[in-house]
């Protein structure tokens, strides 16, 4: 029980339930399963991105280029789709994954081979990838009209009454769970975040592991590139501009320590859901959209304060033990 209370995911979950409860008092239908399923679907892309970002943050790095990667990859697949509507969508998804991965590899290689801090590398590629999106598209948008019905329709296909996008998110969540808790690679992400020196001594190649983390975030951003353009049926240079900070905010709210080594799949998912609920609920309960920014800002600060409380080192037990004797 005590362990349960220490678990920050439980607290976050409670906060989310409370939030849903509060919203329901103002707007009854919010807590309906149908609506919650909708919110989940609306938050899917953010969740997937947050999971990718989490892996990077675990290794004491940060990937600021995810949103730009998403824009670039989204533009690539949208342009391919516009030019060759016959290319099957699953292949386009593979292409998106591949392009995203390639951009991730570029980030990762700079971090690994040259040892440049990730924040610097991705600050650079943040602008480079978005600029490249402009260059390949000449600045032109790809609109709904130019996209094939299959391209737009795939993620909207219903399976068991739930859109495919939600299923994709669930599958990604499950794979990240296995990756992070059940594989040596997953554990080494944690290890190098907790103590990089010790990881070297334990035979983990810190540089290469970081590289892999960037590959994963790139891959995930690439897949989301397709999901994003087909969801919002537009590919432009400006899509998801500034979204990197939302992704990081989701991670932070989810209790992932920016100092590395601490975080869980559940946390990232809940953190994203928290933001998703706020943004979908505000218009419903008649709060001016101008309040949204301040509210999510306060939520981030609150989350950090609470997480820091939880992490604060307990004093040693020596004295207590002595008293007990």
């Amino acid at each position: 029980m005590n362990a349960l209370l220490k678990n920050r995911e439980i607290w976050l979950l409670a906060a989310i339930l409370l939030l849903i409860g509060l919203i329901s008092t103002r707007y009854g239908a919010f807590a309906s399963p149908r609506n919650l399923a909708n919110v989940f679907n609306d938050t899917s892309i953010l969740m997937i991105l947050a999971l990718g970002q989490m892996v990077v943050i675990l290794t004491r790095s940060i990937d600021l280029s995810m949103a730009s990667n998403l824009a670039f990859t989204g533009m690539v697949v949208a342009m391919i789709n516009a030019a060759y509507p016959a290319v099957p969508v699953p292949l386009l998804m593979l292409i998106a994954a591949g392009v995203g991965l390639a951009l991730g590899v570029f980030n990762g290689a700079l971090v690994w081979k040259l040892g440049i801090p990730s924040i610097v590398v991705t600050l650079g590629t943040l602008t480079i990838y978005r600029g490249a999106t402009f260059v390949i598209s000449g600045g032109a948008w790809v609109n709904a009209d130019k996209m094939s019905p299959a391209f737009i329709g795939l993620q909207r296909m219903q399976m068991l009454g739930i859109p495919l996008l939600s299923w994709i998110a669930l599958a990604v969540i499950a794979s990240f769970f296995v990756l992070l808790t059940r594989t040596p690679l997953g554990r080494s992400f944690y290890a190098i975040g907790v103590n990089p020196t010790a990881s070297v001594y334990a035979g983990i190649d810190v540089g290469r592991t970081k590289f892999v983390a960037f590959c994963i975030s790139g891959l995930v951003a690439g897949i989301c590139g397709y999901l994003w353009v087909s969801r919002y049926v537009i590919a432009s240079v400006e899509i998801a501009n500034g979204y990197e900070l939302n992704i990081i905010a989701a991670c932070v709210i989810g209790g992932i320590s920016i100092a590395g080594g601490i975080g869980s799949v559940g946390g990232a998912v809940l953190g994203a859901l928290f933001l998703g609920i706020i943004s979908s609920a505000l218009p419903l309960i008649n709060i001016s959209p101008f309040w949204q920014m301040a509210i999510s800002g306060s939520a981030i600060i609150l989350a950090v304060v609470l997480n820091a409380r939880g992490e604060r080192r307990q004093g040693r037990i020596i004295l207590k033990k002595a008293e007990a004797i």
Partner: protein
């Protein structure tokens, strides 16, 4: 320095002769070379570049961000970061706009702009130092909060009607083509140079960035200094808010959007280690100049801004990667 043997041990020299080479290959030298080449390319590529007014207009592209970058450099050297600077500008500008509605005069407006900036910086500083929170996440939060408050106040409105004399700060010239903004920036650069490189305060900032615990044990008031640095960053953002508001002559909550990353890019390009503990003010000044030269030069060729940002991004990575690759090549060569 005397070279006599002490009774206790062997003599340790102050410094081994610093080879000229290390000065030649220093970061600042690299930046100077880059700046000169960009200047040359610009003069070659556009007939309009070498013109006093053009060069003067060029400085407006970076002075406001560079003012913040000076304080940000100190903050990053101390191992912290502030992502909320652009949001501080928005809030400070909104408050100034509000004051205008109450008929506050120019000097009052300046005081309000700077004061709000300082207050926001102090708020960040309190959260980071009092509650011991990581600054990167705190300021991601306050970034939304500060701008959010500006949005709440202004919504879809704009404030305008700033007094005539207020325009001087962002549009005025001190002498011929030399703008007030440029003079202010150069003055601030000198002050920050002295603070960082010539005072014990600056030395303590470096110590904190390299090892905050050891610094604390050595009697450095780590929290106080970090708090001061956040306040300084807020203050500089407040000053930048005055300049931008004056230059635009109006306030919208979306003002200065995305400036934070440009400021940080400037600082990092200037050779400040993002991990803290190293960096210099001349480097940051040069980096600001380089960014101004690149954006203005490409602007003269009507290259879209987004393409310029590719150059900035590449420059950032290249300038940081080059010395690393160079060192590696030197090492591989047999001595």
């Amino acid at each position: 320095m005397s070279a006599t043997e002490t009774p206790h041990g062997r003599h340790i020299p102050d410094r081994l002769d610093r080879p000229l080479r290390s000065a030649v290959f220093s970061w600042e030298a690299l930046l100077i070379a880059v700046a000169i080449s960009i200047f040359a390319v610009n003069s070659f590529a556009s007939p309009y570049f070498l013109d006093a007014w053009s060069l003067s207009d060029l400085t407006f592209n970076f002075t406001e961000k560079a003012l913040i970058a000076l304080a940000m450099a100190l903050l990053i050297i101390s191992g912290e970061i502030d992502l909320s600077v652009a949001a501080i500008i928005a809030l400070a500008s909104t408050m100034m706009g509000m004051a205008v509605q109450f008929g506050v005069g120019t000097s009052g407006l300046v005081a309000i702009g700077i004061g709000v900036g300082l207050a926001c910086g102090a708020f960040n500083g309190l959260l980071v130092t009092r509650l011991g929170l990581p600054s990167i996440v705190v300021t991601i939060g306050t970034m939304s909060l500060f701008r959010g408050v500006a949005f709440i106040i202004l919504g879809d409105q704009a404030y305008k009607g700033y007094p005539e004399s207020f325009a001087f700060f962002g549009q005025g010239y001190v002498w011929w083509v030399v703008s007030f903004e440029l003079v202010l920036f150069l003055g601030a650069a000198v002050i920050y140079y002295v603070i960082l490189h010539r005072t014990s305060f600056g030395r303590r900032v470096f110590a904190i960035g390299n090892n905050p615990v050891a610094a604390q044990f050595s009697g450095v008031r780590v929290e106080r200094i970090k708090f001061i640095l956040f306040c300084l960053t807020g203050l500089m953002s407040g000053i930048a808010a005055v300049l931008i508001t004056s230059r635009l002559g109006s306030t919208r909550p979306s003002i200065a959007q995305g400036y934070e990353l440009e400021v940080i890019t400037m600082v990092v390009l200037g050779g400040v280690s993002i991990l803290g503990g190293a960096g210099s003010i001349p480097g940051v000044v040069l980096a600001a100049l380089i960014m101004g030269l690149v954006t203005f030069g490409l602007g003269l060729l009507n290259v879209p801004g987004i393409v310029m940002s590719i150059f900035i991004g590449l420059l950032l990575i290249l300038v940081i990667a080059l010395p690393i690759v160079w060192r590696r090549l030197m090492k591989e060569r047999p001595a």
